[in-house]
Symmetry: C2
Subunit: 351 residues, 2 copies
DNA sequence: TTGAAAGCGGTACCAG
DNA sequence: CTGGTACCGCTTTCAA
């Protein structure tokens, strides 16, 4: 591998000059420049970014730490981050934690040791009692002035940059829509509610019920695992109730799809007998039949926004401390929602 | 940021000693070791991997360059690579090219400049006339002895490490299965056939027809774009034929799903009127109804195998030149395939 | 058992 | 317009 020294020798100049022609950082006479370039070609020179970064204290890389690449929500975020990073001259390195907090911490350590300029993290935040350790590590990084921004939830970390979407508003929109269609009994199918996102959605649900003068029935608020399986199980439970709801609001699309499967199996037609609304609007929801109505978060924009924020912070482009950016959601109405009613008939015939 | 020098000063030792206690690379007396460790704590020291890599010429990172993270096939590969890399003490950095050849090349340059130890690349290889430039770059890297392995196709690069699956065999299995169910007319729904993977599948199709004494009808071999849309359009075409086939073999799952949609819309029941087989066995195929029969490639294993190969190459653990590893496929039989027959009746009633 | 010092491959200040 | 050279933070040989 050729180095500056080799080039300098071949071209008969100093390494300083080599550096300057490569980086165009000061004027070099056309003749010397030509000699240097010729030597570079001749030696098939390839810069060593490690050495450069060591000297400049910049890697021009940012990392995105996500729980799962398989999840289409996160991959959309990733695309947003990547595009914005590229636009601003940064490489993105993707770190997939597989929902493991240990990995999360390990990646944060790696990022710090490799002197990556900063990172974006979208914590899983769904497992009960999780993130304690990684929150602590984040706090430490923050204390040390290491740049990062969080997507989705801010944990209990004070004064941090966060990009999130209005989950309360999203749930509110969905429930209002169902209420306006005439639904009176709407189930909330979710997971552990202690955490940020889940809690926001629950609050939105409750607020919408209140504003539409609907009674909140605790037996309609269900917890399960956040995958397809959880939606499936909870929906079977729901369909066995004496007085089942006419609509299901699922806290994410995978659960909604599970709900759909359960209805299919039970011969309950959607949306004839049961309306279903999902959350996240992953591509999958338009591939199942009926296509699911779902609350869309602007994942791509959340990604690009957070990259923008991070890079501004890295480059110290005058940001006040701890920005919180809340993006709006949008209800994507498709085929899984309709007026209620038929279900009552159906139920009677079941009994 | 504290450095060895600081630690050495505080602990009253040399930087050499600091290095050796950190890396456990030579014996250090318990007392000095204790002093050093104490200083490390006191200074909240965090190693600088850049400096280390510069000195050791090792980054312990490998990269995976893929066309799309959104595609579940690639994300499965990525998981395999990641797990194996981790097992062997390497970090994985994921590079998403968004199917753009320019990005592919840019990432390869990046990988080289950052002195990443090696990379795995899964070329898109689907666009016609693509990969010329990036193939050239790969050849150059190979010439320079930069370690990499390819997944899926080897381009026209001689003597390179490749991990692939037996696409010919996979198609053969699928078509044989259909033939044994009694299908006589089976459509091949694919894309541009000039390239490795597509061609292999076509060959497998042809071989199976031959061995089952079925006539190859050129009008049943169709080309379209490789997304859902392509499968949809080609299937509409198929359903309008005077004598349509009773089964469709799609070159990938997205096309198969498009085919399914087209059948749904046309009131053609699957598998009653039409059998459909996909390829890749992405998770999505078990989420649509009917669940699709599909040829599974061992993506995860392909990922881990290629990581293993790459790392062995990096560490020069005696590998002969240019390994080619071909993994077996497996036909996953689900609900979209059945005996033919009903379609004839149906067709008659259409005419 | 430990230290001095010469790299690794660049950057950038200070001179000239 | 160009060069000399001290660093960036860590590794590693040689010597003591």
């Amino acid at each position: 591998m050729a180095t500056y020294k080799d080039i300098a020798r071949i071209a008969g100049v100093s390494t300083a000059t080599v550096s300057h022609v490569i980086n165009k950082t000061r004027f070099v006479s056309p003749e010397t420049k030509a000699k240097v370039l010729k030597a570079i070609k001749a030696l098939n020179y390839h810069p060593n970014a490690l050495a450069k970064s060591l000297a400049t204290r910049k890697t021009h890389m940012i990392a995105l730490i996500i729980p799962s690449i398989t999840n289409q929500f996160f991959s959309a975020v990733a695309r947003g981050v990547q595009d914005e990073a590229k636009r601003r001259g940064y490489y993105l390195i993707l770190c997939n934690t597989d929902e493991e907090e240990v990995n999360e911490i390990e990646y944060m350590k790696m990022v710090r040791e490799k002197r990556i300029d900063g990172f974006i993290i979208t914590p899983p935040g769904t497992k009960e009692n999780a993130n304690k350790m990684s929150n602590e590590y984040l706090v430490e990084l923050q204390k040390d002035g290491f740049p990062f921004v969080m997507i989705g939830r801010r944990g209990n970390i004070p004064n941090v940059d966060v990009v999130t979407s209005d989950s309360r508003g999203g749930a509110y929109q969905a429930i209002s829509y169902l209420a306006e269609l005439g639904h009176r009994r709407i189930a909330f199918v979710g997971g552990p509610f202690s955490k940020g996102v889940g809690l926001g959605r629950l609050r939105g649900y409750q607020q919408a019920l209140r504003e539409h003068k609907l009674e909140e029935d605790p037996s309609l608020i269900l917890e399960g695992n956040l995958e397809e399986e959880g939606g499936y199980q909870l929906t079977r439970q729901i369909l066995n109730m004496k007085l089942p709801p006419t609509a299901i609001f699922a806290i994410n699309d995978m659960m909604a799809i599970g709900a759909l499967t359960a209805c299919h199996e039970a011969g309950v037609s959607v949306p004839g007998d049961m309306s279903i609304v999902g959350y996240d609007d992953i591509p999958l929801v338009s591939m199942v039949r009926p296509r699911l109505t779902s609350v869309a978060q602007p994942e791509y924009e959340m990604g690009s926004k957070s990259a923008e924020l991070l890079i501004k912070r890295i480059e110290k482009k005058g940001l006040k401390e701890g920005q919180i950016i809340v993006m709006n959601t949008k209800l994507m109405i498709r085929e899984s929602t309709g007026r209620p009613g038929i279900i009552y008939k159906n139920l009677l015939s079941h009994q």
